[in-house]
Amino acid sequence: MVFSVAWHFLHDRDLAEETAQDVFLSLHTHLAGIETPAHAGFWLRKVAVQRSIDAARKRRRRPQVALEDVAELSVRPVSGDPMLGGMLRRLIATLPEMARMAMILRYQEDLDPAEIAETMGIPLGTVKSHIQRSLALLREKLERRGVGER
């Protein structure tokens, strides 16, 4: 879970592993404060989010690109096509940081908006806004490229 959050957010396997290692080292330091396995899971997720965002800000190797600038594929992927997965990953990588993390928590961890708000430490309304706008943006870009459900 920890590595996966970092990987989907950072899109850099080495950096994601380093970030995941940092998270587990932090857990080791804070182990005495962990009360239950569920608490450990919640704690890990929260710290994974924070550390991933920190790592992205420190990196700043790839400036965020506007969705309009993402190159079109010559072949149009359709729903279920693995090429669509690759395109979606690239599009998600270009979302603003907080919106990107909200999407990862929603669709990787299957958290509801209230849980996402608690994990990220942001208002519920902001989470809903991030998800709705991101979905709308992704849908628009994909449809403009002729990508959609058959």
Binding site: W7, H8, A20, A40, G85, L138, L142
Partner: protein, 87 residues
Amino acid sequence: MDWLEQELAKTLSRKEPAAGFDGRVRARMHRRPRWLAIAATILVMMGAGEAWRQHEGQLAKEQVMTAMRIAGSKLNRVQMQLKGTEQ
């Protein structure tokens, strides 16, 4: 969930780290010699229920081994003394 959300769930499904990840975390923890705390930390990665079972199992095993060493050492002292007396 509409088709896009289904695709997102597929695309953003959990990815595993490269093999040996837990070993690399342990290597970074090597300065902290409390192996039980380290084992517990690593085991949290594997999932809550099974992790705690493993952790408790390792604790129980260590207690049994230490108990056997203590009882065995006392019996060994008896043995050594008896052998010395027989001679």
